[in-house]
Amino acid sequence: MAKITASVYTSHVPAIGAAIDTGKTTDPYWVPLFKGYEPSKSWMEASKPDVIFLVYNDHATAFSLDIIPTFAIGCAAEFKPADEGYGPRPVPTVIGHPELAAHIAQSVIQDDFDLTIVNKMDVDHGLTVPLNLLCGSPDAWPCPVIPFAVNVVQYPVPSGRRCYNLGQAIRKAIESYDEPLKVQIWGTGGMSHQLQGPRAGLINREWDNAWLDTLISDPDAAASVPHIDYVREAGSEGIELVMWLIARGAMDDVAGGPPPKLAHRFYHVPASNTGVGHLILENQ
């Protein structure tokens, strides 16, 4: 049977992608950020999964205001890097895993989560920047990826509790798949940032780190944080953090297993407008 081996959490700031694409990763501004992901790259080499289930949000790229799915699962064979207005990022096409994606859709929808099934979609920096941070800039991504897009652009976005419960349903789906695949689940976005209005530039290092502590040791408490706390304390775009709860809800301890092992933790301010957080949790 398939098994979730680990969960990875990271911010997905577009400027990180731009720094990689324009060869600025050794600029003094970016050195501390990329240094924080060096252990993650080594970990990824040593713990290569068969599939990554990657939770992210689309930033008005694949989804305009014509259709706004709350949860969308990518079931296609491949996903092209999107042109977000600056031309497509020069990164590999993302290869999907249609069989596992279809299995997860079937299982999770029967567990009362009404996913939108997407068979054609370009993927933006929300998905490709985390892949760069963990895998570098290879000619091909190391394994198939199932994109899972969450609406965090138009309010109301799903609650933290809803995301956490969905993670548990995704875990059940993955662990009922017959092939013995090693699957990682990634939650991306956040941490504190606000990109709009006179309050733009808000960063809350203390709140971010306290939230990381809670996510690691008491995920049920993290799932209880209401939307308004994210917005007030971590900025209007800090709400993206609800996506981390999908990955956290899929870990063994939530289903009665042992607590996960913290393999890596990193926090850095700033990347452009954003407080960058990163965790790797392994199932024991």
């Binding site: 990109l195 709009q196 006179p198 733009a200 530039g201 808000l202 809350n204 308004i228 917005v231 452009s272």
Partner: protein
Amino acid sequence: MALEKPYKDIPGTTIFDADQSRLGYHLNQFCMSLMKAANRERFKAGERAYLDEWPMTEEQKQAVLARDLNRCIALGGNIYFLAKIGATDGKSFQQMAGSMTGMSEAAYRDMMINGGRSVEGNRYIGEDGDAQAHRQPQGKKD
């Protein structure tokens, strides 16, 4: 019955909810059209004529022409959509975000390098933080 909107008491912040989305539908879809290189070229060649192809309000069109992102947001724009205008203009996300504060580009960048804007005084309308209405625009000379 009016629905609860607890986020209305945060200074300098507009939450893009279903009501804002309804107001801004055509404005945001205009922005979305700039994802295509050919449309970016046509927009740059004649902004007013291009905007007139969209059923936007005159106020929305003026806000776009003036690149007044705060006004665009008040009229239903969403920052991820408005960012397509910035991309067309060759601006980074940081330049766009900074433009909404009244700070110079350098002052905004320095604020971010020094750890970003503090939440202190900026949680609730009526406090005295730098995002409060009575302290706008920021970066003005005393």
